[in-house]
Amino acid sequence: MIASTERICEELLGDLSGVERALRAALRRGASFAEVFVEDRAATSAVLDDGRVEDVSTGWDRGAGIRVVKGESTGFAHTTDLSPDGLVAAAEAAAEAVRSDGGGGERVVSLRAAIGRGGRPVEPPWEIPKRKKVELLAAADRAAREKHPAVFQVSAHYADSRRRILVANTEGLLASDEQVRTLFAVSCVARGDGGMQTGRESVGRTGGFELFAEVDVARLALRAAERAVSKLHARPAPAGSMPVVIAAGGGGVLFHEACGHGLEADLVEKGASVFRDKRGEMVASELVTLVDDGTMAGEWGCVGVDDEGHPTVRNILIRNGVLTDYMSDWTRARRQGRPSSSGNGRRQSFRHLPMVRMTNTFLLPGPHDPAEIVASTEKGVYVKHLGGGQVNTATGDFVFGMTEAYLIENGEITTPIRDGNLIGNGPEVLRNIDAVGNDFAMGPPGTCGKDGQGVPVGDGMPTVRVVALTIGGTAA
């Protein structure tokens, strides 16, 4: 057994006998496939608001989710009782939940430890005194207020989590992963004659406290403060269609929404994606090469194995404008006759069934000089920083928020504009990309929500220009 899998198994379960019994119990009840997913998650968070550290919390969660597949139906049950009897009881309940197509039988499952990728962070957050975590908050608060008297409210948030998972299934797969994440965020509110404006900055890594050797929280806070203050004189955003330039790293959420979700095989299979039946077709400007890559060390959406135990890989979804592949989980891979999952089967916790999810989704750099992209735009909007977004995968219509944006007038970035959404149609926007910068940056850490489940995702992009997007402002 690979060392880390052995360790995690011992830490979470003691030994594998309960897992093996649960899988056998599922098979006896007619399962064609069964899976035990064990998870242990410990989290610490601290919040400073209104000038004081006001909420220091710790939380702990441990349990197992057991999935039993019979034909095309899945039964699922979860338990916090990790004893062999607890796991078997959950497996039996999951098996009973779905109709059986035929009788079960005795089958031996020999678990093979295939992978155990989780690496210990350089500075495990659970070994760092809470005092040091709390001190970061105060430093951010000070920095945000010092330079900008208009900033009257600062909230700073520190969070770390350690998630250990173990997955075993009746195909013999046995995998583990240890996922440690550390996050820091600052939100500022500035007050001026025209009301209040907000600025937020966040940074997150799949990794430990070493993050703060690289990231200066005071500088992060200052950027959030500057964003809030700069918007005090912001004009209402324009309303209507015009060219939009999005800054590198402003947030690849544009691509996450414009086509990422539409390339998830579960939505494609149900006919709920505007990108269904498009493999091999030109779906974007040839400047577009889009990648989903769960292996990028340190990035927010990085995982060693997905929540079905499959190693993540680098998946090229669109190459030079041509749709090359969809993302899949175990279920979709099996139905579509793929050799294996693309490593995109993820779930929020042991209480949830896995589904197809993105990891780190980003656009590769292109040939254009970012400064020239702006200079060659006569009139438009420059979006420096994006908020979240949302997509209707059936129509392909998607929105994303701008939290720092400016007008472009005669090739120059000029007046700041107020927050709002932009709306576009995925396939149209992808075709309407006429410039891709030779720069690149990953965006801030994100949480992607789908069918009520949130998972951490990363995104990234170079500077990009879309010929026409609709800006959801109020100004004529």
Partner: protein, 451 residues
């Protein structure tokens, strides 16, 4: 999937709260729930999920310092460590003179029955049947329906208890169930999608046919939708969309936002903030609302709170901490789960009815926009500045009737303006699955941005 005998929650939280030391406040919240969820697809059960959840959270306030610890299990050995962990966490917090727990206030809880045996008692096959029937009913509800993205049945039943060292204690049981479907319609060139839900406390009373027809009708009526040129016009929000708007407004009336100066309404108590047509109440004592509750997250008895009275701001939503900060008593608006400190929010927002229904309100407009769906609320609405800009689908209104469908447009204004621009409030109150009780509302003017 609890294998050991279930713990008595009221007893458990009371025991831990009673361990408070001198000068220390302790509050314990615990919950346990069961539920199932069924997803139907192509006439089969795609998945059947059996859920069991339990959780406990302990809050300690000592010398004005607050700490919190929680766990997703009620196992004795874990529970035993939480009090000390919360105490340790408190040592890292700074002194907040307003930190504390709820004080007993003598209010009597409303007499409500929130638990219906029908939910746990309904058999697995009947629950599966609801999801399967919903899927097939949706497919046949309209000729344009080409598929169903998801048809679901879900329910939960459970109990919660809270106690604190000042003597507040409360416990209760709840159950609820719902069905929901996302219908897809096609005209050969485009596919549209629309959803509908129904919720209640008795699975046999869920209206499969109505949900199927509603989702199918909505998906079909926006087939052929296209962007239209940018314009300003009146916007009609059906009850389910009114609930979304009201939810955004209530975020701005949260004591948490108000006492930290993050709400544009912080200094506007007793001022006019909305059109006279608008009265908003949070009324968890209404037994017909699915947001009805006997106690809030800190154990105080729920009560009816008038917030906006014919346009005048008369109240905020408070838990005990924001109330102390504001200089008033909590009005029992603490919302929480066991895994986090109590927040602030409305249980069951009511908008007082006016006159007319959706049809008559539409017929009063020469030009307008009927909203069908809103997207990007989390990215396009800023409750601090009030900036409001969201993606929308819907139907144009021309000469008092619904006209062509529209998509890929945005609606924008500020929430402050939206409130002042409430032009009409209908009499067609709907009891919605999210607990709100709201009618159709017409906003006098918003910017619709398109081509």
């Amino acid at each position: 999937m609890s294998t050991s005998r279930p713990v008595d929650l009221a007893d458990l939280v009371g025991r831990i709260a009673s361990r408070a030391r001198d000068g220390e406040l302790v509050e314990v919240f615990a919950s346990r729930s069961d539920g199932v969820s069924v997803i139907a697809h192509e006439g089969e059960v795609e998945s059947f999920t059996i859920s069991h959840g339990e959780a406990i959270g302990v809050r300690v306030v000592a010398g004005g310092r607050e700490g919190f610890a929680s766990a997703g299990t009620l196992d004795d050995d874990v529970v035993a460590t939480l009090l000390d962990e919360a105490r340790e966490n408190a040592t890292f917090a700074e002194i907040d003179p307003h930190a504390g727990v709820a004080e007993p206030d003598g209010f009597e809880p409303p007499a409500l029955c929130l638990f219906d045996e029908a939910v746990p008692r309904t058999g697995r096959h009947d629950k599966i049947r609801l999801a399967l029937d919903l899927e097939s009913a949706t497919k046949s509800a309209h000729p344009a329906i080409c598929g169903v993205r998801q048809a679901t049945y879900g329910d939960h039943w459970g109990e919660a208890a809270v106690a604190n060292s000042l003597g507040v204690q409360a416990a209760g049981s709840v159950s609820s169930c719902h069905i929901g479907v996302a219908a897809m319609a096609s005209d050969g060139t485009m596919t549209t999608i629309a959803s509908s839900v129904d919720a209640g406390r008795d699975p046999s009373k869920l209206d499969v046919e109505k949900v199927a027809r509603d989702a199918a009708h909505r998906a079909a009526r926006i087939l052929g939708a296209a962007p239209v040129p940018t314009r300003r016009l009146p916007v009609v929000f059906e009850p389910r969309k009114t609930a979304v708007l009201v939810g955004l407004v209530l975020d701005m009336l949260s004591g948490e936002m108000v006492t930290k100066g993050r709400s544009p309404f912080t200094d506007r108590l007793d001022h006019t903030i909305a059109s006279e047509a608008l009265t908003i109440v949070d009324d968890p004592t209404d037994p017909d609302s699915l947001g009805a509750d006997t106690h809030d997250g800190e154990g105080l008895a729920c009560r009816r709170n008038l917030l906006v009275d014919r346009g005048r701001l008369v109240g905020f939503l408070h838990n005990s901490t924001t109330a102390r900060r504001f200089g008033c008593r909590s009005n029992a608006c603490a919302l929480r789960g066991a895994r986090s400190l109590p927040g602030v929010g409305a249980h069951a927002p009511h908008v007082e009815p006016g006159e007319g229904d959706l049809e008559s309100l539409i017929s009063s407009l020469d030009e307008g926009f009927l909203v069908q769906s809103l997207v990007g609320l989390h990215s396009g609405v800023n409750p601090i500045s009030g900036d409001f800009s969201v993606g929308a689908e819907g139907l144009l209104i021309r000469d008092g009737s619904v006209a062509e469908p529209v998509r890929e447009v945005t609606l924008a204004s500020t929430l402050q303006r939206v409130l002042m621009d409430v032009m009409a409030v209908g009499a067609d109150l709907e009891y919605l699955p999210d607990g709100s009780v709201v009618p159709t509302v017409v906003i006098g003017e918003m910017t619709l941005a398109g081509r």
